[in-house]
């Protein structure tokens, strides 16, 4: 039984922290907030040169062939700096789907491009009536000879505005078992009938879009996996996405606690550092309890992907529920401890708070994940 990072993971963590602290400074993150693309190609290339884009991509496709736990080390560090840009969409969402379902040709083409930093990709899932399950996917794909025609709108699509590829979940068959009839289309954002609109969301760092399709034609060669069998793959990908998010949120919560603790030590009121007052001290202690507990579940969940796949789906729901709740509460508590400055745009705490809120609203809310756990009793 061992919970610690391997020597290689510890080295990866250290170099990731150094790189991110140097390159994703508060000023830079805020710059990206204001940047309509949300990232800069030069920085993207820099990250690709580190091998991070292809971390879990097999070596035969130009990746490093490392484990999901290894990727988790980096995501954790990215959470600490509220990393902006399309890394998560590309390296977690799209890459996992392509790895799981892609044909040999699709894998070698797309994964190689992702690994080398030449392709930004995302996944379009949710629609106007958000449902976390398969029944939420209603966007229609109608067959016309050797191609399909997409019709409808996707919402909350992360980073679609800067993507070179959007993987769209659409319904190729209706009136069947709800989990059947969903197919995954590889769509070029430049294709005819695709309209992408940046949504004015709270968290400007991880930008989201509305993507609509007006008779957009996609060749049947551009389907990922089997026609009509997309949901099973999406579910697996969402499990990993939640685990990945768990680690990112852990990093955010850890950093937020550091901000609260530092401030409590130096801010003096009534002649004493406010951290000496139990009202503040106990808030910080409660945060530590939740951050450390988050560490246990988030790291465990990441380990299950390669270490114990039977537990993967359950641990994803555990991590999403517990760590999501921790991050939102820790950011709110820290905002409160900071007082007036915490309420300002100038202080970074709102970046974390908004990321926490955005993260909790992704890939299934708490009610959904608790019900997923409860369904095991039936």
């Amino acid at each position: 039984m061992d919970f610690t990072l391997t020597i290689e993971q510890e080295m990866l963590r250290q170099s990731a922290r150094k790189f991110l602290n140097t390159n994703f400074t508060n000023d830079y993150v805020r710059e990206m907030w204001e940047n309509t693309q949300g990232y800069e190609p030069e920085m993207w290339t820099k990250i690709a040169d580190l091998g991070w884009m292809g971390l879990t991509i097999p070596e035969e496709y130009g990746g490093l062939g490392l484990t999901f736990r290894d990727l988790g080390v980096i995501l954790h560090e990215m959470g600490r700096v509220v990393m902006p840009g399309p890394f998560f969409s590309t390296v977690v969402l799209a890459t996992e789907l392509i790895k799981m379902a892609g044909s040999e040709a699709q894998r070698s083409n797309l994964l190689e491009k992702i690994a080398s930093g030449k392709l930004i990709a995302t996944v379009a899932l949710y629609e106007e009536e958000v449902e976390w399950g398969a029944d939420g996917i209603k966007l229609s794909a109608t067959k016309n000879g050797e191609s399909y025609s997409l019709q409808g709108t996707k919402l909350f699509v992360p980073d679609a505005h800067c993507a070179d590829l959007i993987i769209v979940a659409a319904r190729t068959q209706k009136h069947v078992d709800v989990n059947e009839g969903i197919s995954l289309f590889l769509v070029d954002p430049q294709a005819e009938g695709v309209k992408i609109e940046l949504l004015p969301t709270m968290d400007h760092g991880r930008k989201q879009c509305a993507v609509s399709f007006l008779n957009t034609t996609v060749s049947s060669n551009e389907i990922l996996g089997e026609v009509g069998k997309g949901w099973t793959i999406l579910e697996k990908m969402l499990t990993r996405a939640n685990i990945a998010l768990g680690l990112e949120m852990l990093g955010g919560g850890e950093k937020v606690l550091e901000i609260a603790t530092e401030y409590s030590k130096v801010r003096v009121q009534f002649g004493q550092p406010i951290g000496s007052y139990q009202a503040i001290k106990h808030k910080c202690a409660e945060m530590l309890l939740q951050v450390e507990s988050s560490r246990s579940i988030a790291e465990y969940a990441a380990w299950t992907v390669d270490g114990n796949p039977h537990e993967e789906s359950k641990s994803a729901s555990l991590a999403k529920t517990y760590v999501g709740n921790m991050y939102r509460k820790a950011a709110a508590a820290t905002l409160q401890i900071l007082g007036g400055i915490g309420f300002s745009w100038e202080h970074d705490i709102h970046l974390y708070y908004k990321r926490a809120l955005a993260s909790e609203a992704m890939f299934g809310d708490t009610v959904f994940h608790l019900e997923h756990l409860a369904s095991q009793w039936d």
Binding site: M1, D2, A285, S293, L318, L370
Partner: protein, 402 residues
């Protein structure tokens, strides 16, 4: 990271479970646990069973052979602790003697103290209690005033202790006393091992919120304690009192987790067997969410514990994660018991003895008992001070800095 258990350890667990099946006392059914007022009988059952464990080589597993242990591995020790807790619902007879006194003596006791006391703790011959709190020294423990004055070859002890669990059944007591009244608070305290049948010791049970008397007041009236019953140095008892090292705390939590898991399983059963408004409670989405949230907490606590144990197994002391367990489990247990009472509705009021009571009133008893969890062994507030100051490095408040 690797969380799998070695084949050897898995075999050891299977072997112990086999032994347990044959030897576990049948007198204590789950629903009776903690409710019987006959503590004396329960103590006897405990002593007999502890003796069996000792004879079979399942007591003090990773402690040295010369003190009655087995010199086995820490993992084996953990396995036995887990399975005992999951399968035998005894009262807290061993949590102090095996859980606290023996490890303290192992690290701080004299050779004679180790040889005299540890084997008797392991064989169930001695039950111990803990004389720390006083009427004017609760969270502010160092304010205690029970005195010990050296007279020739012994100390003369006078004073009063309170909230002493199983004091009425204990053979010995770990007692923190003031040996230097002139020294400032934390200095001037000493740590004694006191025989409870000594002349001048009076034990008065205190009836508690559950209706039973688990804890007691202890009165010391010129009680003589031989000098060789001092642990560590005179006036350095505070160090030993707070050396409830991380290790012991974590081992105690090892035995709490299986009980919480069991409570959760029973809670799901309860929700499956309770009908409200025409449907079983487990189908009610509000309760499903509440219970699932409890499951999240139990699973997270399990992983926190694995982390602690993994660190201990490597021979290191756990970091921050080691200090949060008490706050975590005590509040979780309260939430769990509260949910059970909500599920039972008006039945939650029924105590043992009513033919209408669910599980013989056990949930109600446990609910009331759980109120003590955030008070005993250091209140949640004191724990949070410790986390804030020792883990996060926040300053002490002005009054306590002086």
């Amino acid at each position: 990271m690797n969380l799998t258990m070695s084949p050897d350890d898995q075999m050891y667990r299977a072997k112990f479970l086999n032994w347990l099946k044959e030897n576990i006392p049948t007198e204590v059914a789950w629903a009776e646990e903690d409710i019987s007022e006959d503590w004396q009988t329960q103590a006897e059952i405990f002593r007999k069973f502890q003796r069996k464990l000792f004879d079979a080589g399942y007591a003090g597993i990773h402690w040295p052979k010369e003190y009655g242990g087995q010199s086995g591995t820490l993992m084996q020790h953990i396995i036995v602790t887990e399975e005992l807790s999951a399968n035998y619902p005894w009262k807290m007879f061993d949590s102090l003697s095996v859980g606290l006194v023996a490890p303290t003596l192992l690290s701080r006791g004299t050779e004679e103290q180790k040889k005299e006391f540890i084997p008797k703790i392991l064989s169930g011959e001695h039950i111990w209690c803990q004389g720390f709190s006083e009427p004017n020294a609760g969270s502010d423990l160092a304010n205690l005033s029970t005195s010990a004055v050296r007279m020739g070859d012994r100390y003369i002890v006078n004073g009063q202790k309170v909230w002493t669990s199983i004091g009425h059944l204990a053979d010995y007591c770990i007692l923190v006393v003031r040996t230097d009244p002139k020294a400032s608070k934390h200095k001037g305290l000493s740590y004694l091992l006191v025989y409870m049948k000594s002349p001048g010791v009076t034990v008065r049970p205190i009836k508690q919120i559950t209706g039973e008397a688990e804890y007691n007041e202890l009165f010391f009236d010129n009680v003589e304690v031989p000098l060789d019953r001092l642990v560590g140095k005179e006036n350095e008892g505070w160090l030993i009192a707070i050396t409830t090292l991380m290790f012991e705390r974590i081992m105690n939590e090892v035995s709490i987790l299986p009980k919480l898991q069991k409570s959760l399983d029973r809670l799901i059963d309860l929700a499956n067997n309770t009908i409200r408004d025409g449907q079983v409670i487990i189908k009610n989405p509000v309760y499903r969410q509440k219970i699932a949230l409890l499951q999240v907490d139990v699973e997270v606590m399990r992983l926190n514990q694995y982390r602690n144990l993994a660190t201990l197994l490597k021979g290191e002391m756990p970091g921050p994660e080691g200090s949060i367990g008490k706050v975590f489990w005590s509040e979780l247990n309260q939430r769990m018991q509260e949910t059970a009472l909500e599920i039972m509705g008006p039945y939650s009021q029924l105590l043992k003895g009513s033919k209408y009571a669910k599980d013989n009133g056990k949930w109600t008893f446990d609910f009331l008992r759980a109120r003590g969890n955030t008070i005993e062994g250091g209140t949640t507030e004191i724990q949070k001070n410790i986390i804030g100051e020792r883990v996060l490095g926040l300053p002490k408040d002005a009054v306590r800095r002086k």
